[in-house]
């Protein structure tokens, strides 16, 4: 029993939960208006795209990989959606095409990684530039606007008192939690991250799993792009710029090891919450956008250092 409590205490998630709780306490103290439900609900709309992409990114990083192209895939799929809509294609069909484009982009990443044995960092760095280049090229940097208001509901509307995008995130999260904990899929993901060669020799089809995970990442990035287009009522080639950094930061703050094999979706959720609340609160309270980067940097250092200490502790009980 005692050992069990110890085990829970030493989890990075416990530390993160404490950090989130003290952050909320601090925010409530400094600015009570900020932690009101309707304020939080409205501000949450700024984070759903990041949150949604963080789910596949967690899987990618757990396998020891990385996907730098998520922001560029958002850009390319947003442009696909916008240009199809502009040329008179029905909106649901345009959304479907955007999703398909995202899946293709992700699959291409996966293909290079598994078949060509290119390191994920290198190939997604390359496709990041390529996908955004294509988006800039075909759109010639012109924005598409004027989507119907029914579409805006997807990015701005509420369903049962919670933003629609929030439901999508929750749905995706529940499905992935089930996959990770109730199916062998989860165990295999961790196994690949810890030792992919050993996993391969255990008869697990590592390549097929990696291909699926990167494809999933592309598809989810497209979903996030659709939400962003709906929220801002505009499709532009510079959408999702810098998204990969925000997402990776959230996942790393959430305690997922960048070398793979360690971390959890729960940690990622806490990481997203920390990053989002810090970002919103700093500009809410101090009215200074420049403080934001500073706060995020401090948060990242704090969380990484603490997790390092924790890991050390757990390793030597």
């Amino acid at each position: 029993m005692k050992q069990r409590i110890h085990h829970i205490l030493w989890q990075p998630e416990t530390f993160l939960a404490l950090l989130v709780a003290s952050l909320f306490g601090l925010m409530g103290q400094l600015d009570p208006a900020f932690i009101q439900w309707h304020v939080q609900r409205e501000l949450s709309t700024h984070a759903w795209e990041l949150a949604i992409i963080a789910i596949p990114m967690t899987l990618v990083i757990l396998t020891g990989g990385i996907d730098l192209s998520v922001g560029a895939i958002m850009s390319l799929t947003a442009i696909t959606l916008g240009m199809l809509f502009q040329s008179g294609c029905p909106l649901p069909l345009a959304c479907l095409a955007a999703l398909l484009a995202g899946i293709l982009c992700g699959a291409l990443n996966g293909w290079f990684i598994t078949r060509m044995q290119v390191h994920p960092l290198i190939i997604t760095l390359a496709t990041m530039a390529a996908y955004r280049g294509v988006a800039e090229g075909i759109s010639r940097a012109r924005p598409v606007s004027g989507f119907p208001s029914s579409f805006a509901w997807l990015g701005q509307g509420l369903w049962l008192g919670i933003p629609v995008a929030g439901w999508l995130f929750l749905g995706l999260l529940v499905v992935m939690l089930w996959m990770m904990h109730a199916r062998s899929f989860g165990t295999h993901v961790y196994a690949i991250g810890l030792n992919s060669t050993a996993t391969r020799f255990s008869g697990i089809r590592v390549d097929r799993m990696l291909l699926a995970i990167y494809t999933f990442s592309g598809g989810v990035s497209a979903l996030a792009a659709i939400l962003l287009v709906a929220r801002r009522n505009t499709a532009k080639a510079d959408m999702g710029m810098g998204m990969e950094l925000g997402v990776i930061t959230a996942v790393v703050i959430g305690g997922v090891s960048i070398f793979g094999g360690r971390g959890s979706l729960l940690g990622t959720c806490l990481g997203i919450l920390l990053i989002h609340e810090t970002r919103e609160f700093v500009s809410w309270h101090w009215n200074r956008d420049e403080l934001n980067l500073l706060a995020l940097g401090a948060l990242l250092i704090l969380s990484v250092v603490f997790q390092k200490l924790l890991r050390h502790k757990r390793a030597t009980p």
Binding site: A21, Q29, S145, R232, N233, K236, N287, D289, E290
Partner: protein
């Protein structure tokens, strides 16, 4: 080992107790703060001034004028904040945040009118007065646009200045434009007016290239070099944003083409002083940025107090005097041309 375990445990307990303590205190300050703000809300008006990109000298000089107006008016609390990376999405998020905070007026210089329009409309629906300044927004998303100078006046001013600096050439002369973003609404309207004015008044100026600098001075420098390579006969550059102008001037100076290639455009005087002194640039076109900030805050305050209403045709802007309103545009006035004789008189 045991020691460090205790050490960590104490940190955890400390964190938990801080949380509990803060949580317990949270409700009480909310009561007291709402009380004080209730007493004060009598006349204090909160105005939020959002630039395209925070940290650019151009916008900082506007903000200085805005601060002065806030001081002159006395009943204004001014917040100056904007995206440090110039992202339109961030700008929209900020408008949403300030709407939630319940400011009285939001004055925004939109980076991309379409992206920020939904956020601006939402703010208006919640009773916040929204105006555009420096760059216009989508028409139904704002009440007024505080316009520094009509697009026509700026565009014609730049073309006339260029023709004049080149000595009104009698043969075909190649010129190029280095703009901000290809999607920047302001710049695109100016470019249209510049083209028509060149065609009608200065047919010898022929525009050979329009390149974006993405509000990045290094990129402005690079595209200017590229244009000089591609068009060796080029005689003039327009740098039509406060970032692309110094970038273009630097490229011409480093190519040792000072005096052979003229650079003109829009920028703050301080950033161009050295180029004006060495002759790379003869004239800098701009408007009085401090007065633009001043007028914006005046308009915002008047809108919040009901002194200014839809359909007004003129506006008393304090020390700036009477300003004309045309088609929802509050007009600041004419352009200002800086040259080596007067540039030292301005410091922003």
């Amino acid at each position: 080992m045991k020691n460090s375990t205790r050490h960590y445990l104490s940190i955890a307990i400390l964190l938990a107790s801080i949380t509990a303590f803060l949580g317990a205190c949270a409700p009480s300050p909310s009561e007291s703060s709402s009380k004080t703000s209730g007493e004060e809300s009598g006349r204090k008006i909160t105005i939020c001034l959002i630039p395209k990109k925070k940290g650019l000298p151009y916008f900082t000089s506007c903000a200085a004028g805005a601060q002065e107006a806030a001081k002159d008016l006395g009943n204004v609390e001014l917040i100056y904040d904007g995206p440090t990376d110039g992202s339109p999405d961030k700008q929209a998020s900020m408008i949403e945040q300030y709407t939630l905070k319940g400011v009285d007026v939001i004055a925004v210089s939109p980076n991309d009118p379409d992206v920020v329009a939904p956020a601006m409309r939402k703010a208006r629906a919640k009773g916040v007065h929204v105006i555009a300044w420096d760059a216009d927004a989508v028409k139904d998303a704002r009440a007024f646009f505080v316009n520094q100078a009509s697009a026509k006046a700026i565009a014609h001013g730049m073309v006339d200045t260029m023709a004049n600096d080149l000595g009104n050439p009698s043969v075909k002369t190649e010129v190029a434009i280095v703009t901000a973003y290809l999607t920047a609404a302001n710049q695109n309207i100016w470019i249209e007016h510049m083209k028509t004015h060149m065609a009608s008044e200065h047919p010898n100026l022929s525009l050979v290239a329009i390149k974006p600098s993405d509000e990045d001075q290094k990129l402005a420098f690079k595209v200017t070099q590229d244009i000089m390579k591609a068009y060796p006969e080029i005689k003039g550059f327009f740098g039509i944003s406060s970032v692309s102008f110094p970038g273009a001037a630097e490229a011409v100076r480093q190519a040792k083409k000072t005096g052979q290639i003229m650079v003109t455009g829009l920028a703050t005087p301080n950033s161009m002083k050295s180029y004006v002194k060495d002759g790379t640039v003869k004239s800098v076109v701009l408007w009085n940025t401090a007065e633009l900030g001043y007028l914006t805050v005046q308009v915002a305050e008047a809108l919040a107090t009901g002194k200014l209403t839809d359909g007004a045709s003129s506006f008393d802007a304090g020390k700036l005097g009477e300003k004309k309103i045309e088609d929802d545009h509050v007009l600041l006035g004419d352009i200002l041309v800086f040259n080596k004789d007067n540039i030292d008189a301005y410091d922003f």
